[in-house]
Amino acid sequence: MRRIIRRREILQDSLRYAGEPQDPGTVSVQTAAEWIAGAGAAGGAAAGPAALLLAPTDEVEALAPHLQAVQWIVIEFAKIGEGRGYSQARLLRQRFGYAHELRARGALKRDQLVFLARCGFDAFDLDPAEDLTASLRALDSFTVAYQDGDEALVQLRRRAAPGAAA
């Protein structure tokens, strides 16, 4: 059984992908493109919460009007250098207000976790060979960041004047 990191916990995965056995209690993941084109999006929340797989080339704008019916979004990273998912996540979280699980899945190692988490991912389905306990620690590799307008940091910097160097 696949294990994932979700909100800083190591858990059994409850999602299943095309071709995987239908274990009880698991939710089937559909591609976002099929779901939007088919009945899922039209059915809204009444059709039950959806779990969607977003490919790097999928435009998040197409998903935006239907987000109230979505409980899981899994963004695929086919290669370690794949970077579109970071922007997709940012847009889903910031521009479209998506608040449910946002998962990164694919050729990812603990080294990408800090970036992923800061773009809004809260669940990670990493390379099967990756050590998840070490990955949890890697989420805390950095205690500071220059972006995101973190208010505490802004306050700190306001106090720092030239010459007050560390």
Partner: protein, 559 residues
């Protein structure tokens, strides 16, 4: 200069710890080379022909004497007693040991330095005018904006896995000494309608296999929107830039595919849509940053009457100090001071190379006579920007004794040169041996001075690290059936308005490069209207044909 606070220091130290762990995992086999590669590249580490190469960031080319001494220490302790300054104002070491790189980075962190994002598909070191803050012709010091952009770009969560590398240059002078037009994004300081400082934004420039001059995508951007607009550009690029072909992945290719109008429309639309969450650059942050780059405590001095020396006293022989003053120093905007160029283009040395001993001595010299600061230029020299005129002779004598006073700045032998086949695994041909050949062929300083300002830039392959496209004379190494040949272009320029050189004809064999250049120079000397018309101006006026005719008229050795 900018000084780290606790946040900056913590960040570089945490980065060192992270990379130490990553290196350890690679060495133990837990990470494959494919997995390690993007991680090491983002810390400036290449695995090269002979050994790893470590590229250390010198943000916008500014170094303190303490930092330069640390680089000397690293050269001695971990490398082969020398380093190499690059066209992005950074410093490369060619012989570090992989397992020692985390230690090198830890040492760098003690002097507020790092190697982050000097390679890899991310936002690279921000470059700037090497005369920022002292140039008489600038609108305002661009470096506060460079540091603001540097911090914003460092470990940016969304833009650390871009389709390809991304280079930003900032300039505040009409002369554009930062080559903003050949960057992915060029930021030019500009006064707005209300007199406030803002920016003209260019995008889509770049060299490499597909050289393109950048285009203006925003005529005027208010200061507060700088980071928000950069985010909009990067987001459009990150989402839509090609990732299927490494040679078509730069933003210039996306811009060309979309057309500048459509690209601009998309950026502006993203900029508007992102307003709520985009970073806003507060005036107070700019002021805070500006204070770091305040002018040093200049003395009130008068210009020294005989600073330029008096060659008349020395009968006959060329007067070395006078030549150095004329070619290697520039006017300063403060009376009594002068800008001094430190030539890293001595005959027999690879352009941009500097030894550990030279670094230490230069650090001492900067402490004595230039407020402890040293700058690197994008044409691979160094600068002492604030030298009192009364100290010029002493500075010259010291530089002369160090082999750093070759009076050739701006002349033919002040060449830009990539490491080439001698070090680089990408290269098709050597660059350094060609630089040596040119030095040997044109060793007569009087002849060089008669030629006037002329820029040779050379790359050992089409990746164009030596910026050959924008050399007045560009030299590109190509591989022909296992032999090194060289394609020559003329008419390129990085100064505004930037221009790409035109190929004069079939490439020439290695041994004929200097001779080919000699023919080009003959045509120039015959055709120029007077000694004030530069080589590049003559090329622009008469075109490439007369040069082509001369090079290829009787020569049957070309193919």
């Amino acid at each position: 200069m900018y000084r780290y606070d606790q946040i900056d220091q913590t960040l570089v130290e945490e980065r060192v710890a992270q990379f130490r762990d990553q290196t350890q995992r690679f060495l133990s086999g837990a990470l494959t080379e494919d997995e390690f590669k993007p991680l090491r590249l983002r810390n400036g580490l290449y695995l090269q022909l002979h050994a790893p190469m470590l590229r250390i960031a010198v943000p916008y080319g500014l170094l303190s004497s303490r930092q330069l001494r640390m680089l000397a220490h690293i050269a001695r302790q971990y490398d082969r007693d020398y380093g190499h300054f690059t066209t992005r104002q950074n410093l490369q070491f060619n012989w570090p040991k992989l397992e020692q790189v985390p230690d090198i980075l830890a040492e760098l962190a003690t002097v507020e330095m790092h190697a982050m994002q000097t390679s890899g598909n991310c936002i690279r070191n921000i470059t700037a005018d090497h005369l920022a803050g002292v140039a008489p012709d600038e609108l305002a010091d661009p470096r506060p904006y460079c540091e603001i952009i540097r911090q914003w770009a460092t470990l940016h969560p969304e833009f650390s896995y871009l389709p390809r590398k991304f280079k930003i240059a900032v300039t505040a002078s009409p002369a554009d000494r930062a080559a903003a037009e050949v960057h992915d994004v060029g930021v030019r300081l500009k006064r707005g309608p209300d007199g406030a400082i803002g920016f003209e934004i260019l995008a889509g420039g770049g060299l490499g296999r597909t050289p393109i001059i950048g285009q203006v995508i925003r005529d005027y951007l208010p200061q507060s929107d700088l980071l928000a607009y950069l985010e909009a550009i990067l987001r459009v690029y990150n989402r839509h830039g090609r990732r299927d072909n490494i040679h078509k992945a730069r933003i210039k290719i996306l811009m060309r595919a979309l057309g500048v109008q459509e690209f601009r429309r998309q950026v502006e639309a993203e900029f508007e849509a992102a307003r709520e969450f985009a970073p806003r650059l507060a005036d107070s942050e700019v002021e805070r940053m500006r204070a770091f780059f305040a002018p040093p405590p200049y003395e009130t001095l008068d210009d020294v009457a005989d600073a330029a020396g008096n060659a008349g006293l020395l009968s006959g022989a060329r007067a070395p100090y006078e030549a150095w003053y004329r070619y290697n120093t520039r006017a300063h905007r403060v009376a009594g001071y002068r800008i001094v160029f430190v030539s890293l283009k001595k005959h027999g040395e690879a352009p941009g190379d500097i030894t550990a001993a030279q670094m230490d001595a230069l650090a001492d010299l900067a402490d004595r006579h230039s407020f402890g600061l040293i700058r690197s230029t994008h044409d691979q020299n160094l600068v002492l920007a604030d030298v009192p005129q009364r100290a010029l002779r002493e500075v010259w004598q010291t530089l002369e004794s160090l082999g750093l006073a070759t009076p050739n700045i701006g002349t033919l032998t002040d060449m830009i040169c990539c490491p080439g086949l001698d070090f680089c695994s990408l290269a098709n041909a050597g660059s350094i041996p060609i630089a040596k050949q040119i030095h040997a062929r044109f060793d007569d300083l009087d002849y060089l001075y008669d030629l006037g300002p002329i820029e040779i830039k050379m790359s050992g392959c089409m990746n164009a690290c030596g910026h050959h496209h924008i050399g007045h004379i560009g030299i590109l190494g190509v591989d022909k059936h296992g032999k090194e040949w060289y394609q020559i272009t003329i008419g390129g320029s990085s100064a505004a308005p930037a221009a790409l050189g035109e190929v004069i004809g079939p490439s020439v064999p290695k041994e004929a490069v200097a001779e080919t250049i000699a023919k080009l120079l003959d045509v120039y000397l015959e055709e120029r209207q007077d000694e004030h018309e530069r080589f590049i101006d003559t090329v622009r006026r008469i075109g490439v044909e007369p040069f082509q005719e001369r090079v290829y008229e009787t020569d049957h050795s070309t193919a």
